[in-house]
Symmetry: C2
């Protein structure tokens, strides 16, 4: 069955970070200053917020970092606190400590010590930070010890 | 202060999907057959599982898709069910229906109808599937209506 299906080509994988209203603009600014992400575009809300609501008019913004994209979504139903989350985002860099320091300057909180990860898929040295919106980022030295796939 | 900090260069952004033991190998195979992801490498457990444990010897595997990487992690502490998750992954493709159909053949479950997303950051037409490991994927037509960033 599967072989008969058309090949499907994907053009992008984009993590989506849901951020509770009205913090989406703050989150976009945080990812720019903490990680150097570049904003590729943003979409306004439709319909726009009313004057009484006094909310920033942003539905989502696309950010580019290290050749990948992620999207910050303004989501009123996003949880206030993200607990027991099943996934997190790994950022690879040769400058683990400098990256953590920069993120902390921008408002992130360090979680634990930088550890030697044993060369698993997410790098040899691994630090963990939590951003002001509840997302956990692993700051890792580049992975280079993944075993080749066995045939 | 921020200007005085060294520029930090990130070389990759990798979502990490935690999958409860012993399903990590199943998950890797699912992402290959459902999305056409390519395995770039995997790391064994250290120490390896004992014969009595009878578990697959995989700590993590790195998968490549649409020029990005993501990592499946074998994590005994991963939640059985992922509820109220704050982030999800968007996959862009011109073939939304074919992609959903292929993923469903591989074991994913459709959540709702394909809708017109109004051209927000995650594409014009958007379908949603949940994979057998609890992760939600948006299957979207490529976004092309993000407004340029205002200066």
């Amino acid at each position: 069955m599967a072989q008969q299906q058309a090949q499907v080509k994907f053009t992008a994988v984009k993590p989506q970070l849901m951020v509770k209203t009205p913090k989406a603009v703050d989150a976009v600014n945080f990812y720019k200053s903490a990680f150097g992400a570049v904003e590729a575009g943003r979409s306004p809300c439709c319909p726009p917020p009313t004057a009484e609501q006094n909310l920033p008019n942003i539905l989502c913004a696309q950010l580019e970092l290290a050749g990948c994209s992620f999207v910050v979504y303004n989501d009123d139903s996003a949880p206030e606190k993200i607990e027991g989350i099943g996934n997190q985002l790994c950022l690879e860099t040769d400058e683990v400590e400098a990256a953590i320091s920069k993120a902390v300057s921008a408002g992130a909180v360090v979680e634990g010590e930088v550890t030697e990860g044993g060369g698993a898929c997410c790098g040899g040295r691994v630090g963990k930070i939590k951003d002001p919106y509840g997302y956990v980022w692993l700051i890792c030295s580049p992975s280079n010890k993944c075993a080749p796939v066995e045939a």
